[in-house]
Amino acid sequence: MNSVASKTSDEVVMTAEGEEFLEEVCSIPGGESVRWCIQCGMCSASCPNVAQMDNSLRRTIALIRAGRRHDVLTSNTMWVCASCYLCTARCPKEVKITELMHTLERLAGYYGLTTKRTTTATMYRAFIDSIKSNGRVHELGMMTKYYLSTVLALKVNPFSLIKMLPLALNLMSRGRMTIKPTKIKGAEQIKTIVERAKALGGVK
């Protein structure tokens, strides 16, 4: 009978560490929804960027449930998610897949497992730094910081940035990129809020 089939090499063996990872994902707001995924694959079929992902969305959920922490957190999957929510809107089981992608990005960052092949995390950091210092995002400052960091980290060839020049000039000549950032009156409040959030240990 199949129910007593012998173990095959593909059979998933859940380790204690794997169980811990699954628990961790499920404990994060939105993460609990991986438990009711039916593996239909609608998410992967809907994703505009699935072809660029190491693991498809459906596979990522299967890997989480199998406790494959390292495979999940070192993949590029979540870093090429554009947050278009098409997977979430179409999921017949209402799994919050886009939320899950954000959760995996946070976990990868928290454990220092972010793949070196992505610069999305660098862009996120530049974006957040802009909010922390001004209260708002200063696009020119954010982009300059991003490009400088990626060039310095040898992730981007400085000469490849030449093709971005016409774009930047087009935007600047039309007054669509301000040189000086706008700082809100409550910029200090933002710093205080962020510090308090850190003290409460809410990164994940």
Partner: protein, 321 residues
């Protein structure tokens, strides 16, 4: 007059989508709505923040909600990303009491508190539902007849949660275009992604998405595309030349904000709609309409001056008696 608390968002207030902010201000008068800018609002945090630090991102977004709560008005934003992340904060706080307590702890450190009563709304939804297409139709002085427009919803107006329109096959923007006298052209990819902020770290992936959208709209016979999101406009307008080069495409589609199209139809002075901020110029496509709008705007301002001067004369005559 209808009153709302207004959250322009970083890019519409003075950044890459400044034309969106300007054209939004320009249509308020004719639509008899007042957008009161939320004092000292901060960035909503959007995907970069919620993908890095959950508690800080919700707390930073909620500062805006706490400020808006004091006004007692609905919080309206023209930006689809701000709309999603402020709504996300609301829904996370509602669903997860533990998170709510921590967020209020963060806010109390700066003397703020959020009770959870603010309704976050997208400007397009407000215009569609509160003003209504019938009223808009009655206010159109410069019908956009013969203009072929592709209605681009983008992602975050109709997703993730079922909102005011059908998530899988939205129609509101198409209806809006028709109410202005224009034609809404077939556009099968109308709710697909433009690549959003991935255009910075993953430009090749984003260019592929941008190309597919432009090609789909172009093959449907559109002369221009209308959008409800600052980031969509920037990606499709500013990166259009790069997408064209990469894929050897021939399209040239001006990308307009829905507020710019609405303003033209309502007879707003074209200059006030900041049409010149677009990289792919809409001049050729809109020439007939803008000249009519300019004529109309000049005529009304002249008649207003005449009216005012005749009133003054009357007042003088009255005083003289």
């Amino acid at each position: 007059m209808k009153y709302y608390s207004y959250f322009p968002g970083c890019s519409s207030s003075e950044g890459t989508a400044v034309a969106y902010g300007l054209s939004t201000q320009a249509i308020c008068g004719p639509l008899e709505m007042e957008l009161v800018e939320l004092e000292d609002w901060n960035c909503c945090g959007t995907t970069p923040y919620s993908s890095t630090d959950e508690l800080a991102s919700v707390a930073v977004a909620t500062r805006n909600l706490a400020l808006a709560e004091k006004t007692g008005l609905d919080l309206v934003t023209p930006c689809s990303a701000c709309y999603t992340s402020l709504n996300r904060a609301n829904s996370q706080l509602r669903q997860y009491p533990d998170l709510r307590d921590k967020v209020n702890d963060c806010l109390s450190s700066v003397g703020l508190e959020y009770k959870g009563t603010v309704r976050v709304r997208h400007l397009f939804e407000v215009i569609y539902n509160d003003i209504g297409l019938k009223v808009i139709e009655s206010k159109v002085v410069n019908p956009l007849s013969e203009l072929k427009v592709a209605a681009y919803y983008g992602c975050q107006l109709v997703r993730p949660e079922p909102g005011f329109d059908n998530t899988h096959n939205p129609q509101s923007l198409d209806e809006f275009i028709v109410s202005l006298g224009a034609e809404s052209t077939p556009f099968p990819l109308k709710d697909r992604c433009c690549g959003s902020s991935l255009v910075i770290p993953e430009v090749d992936i984003a260019l592929g998405l941008i190309h597919k959208l432009l090609e789909s709209a172009d093959s449907g016979g559109a002369q221009c595309m209308v959008t409800v999101c600052p980031l969509c406009q920037t990606n499709l307008d500013a990166y259009q030349a790069m997408a064209k080069g990469k894929f050897g495409a021939k399209y040239s589609l001006p990308i307009l904000f829905f507020t710019q199209l609405l303003g033209l139809a309502l007879g707003v002075e074209p200059k006030a709609l900041a049409l010149d901020k677009s990289i792919i110029s809409a001049e050729r496509v809109l020439a007939r309409l803008t000249s009519k709008a300019t004529e109309w705007a000049t005529a009304t301002s002249e008649s207003a001056i005449e009216r005012e001067s005749s009133l003054r004369t009357k007042a003088l005559l009255k005083g003289g008696k």
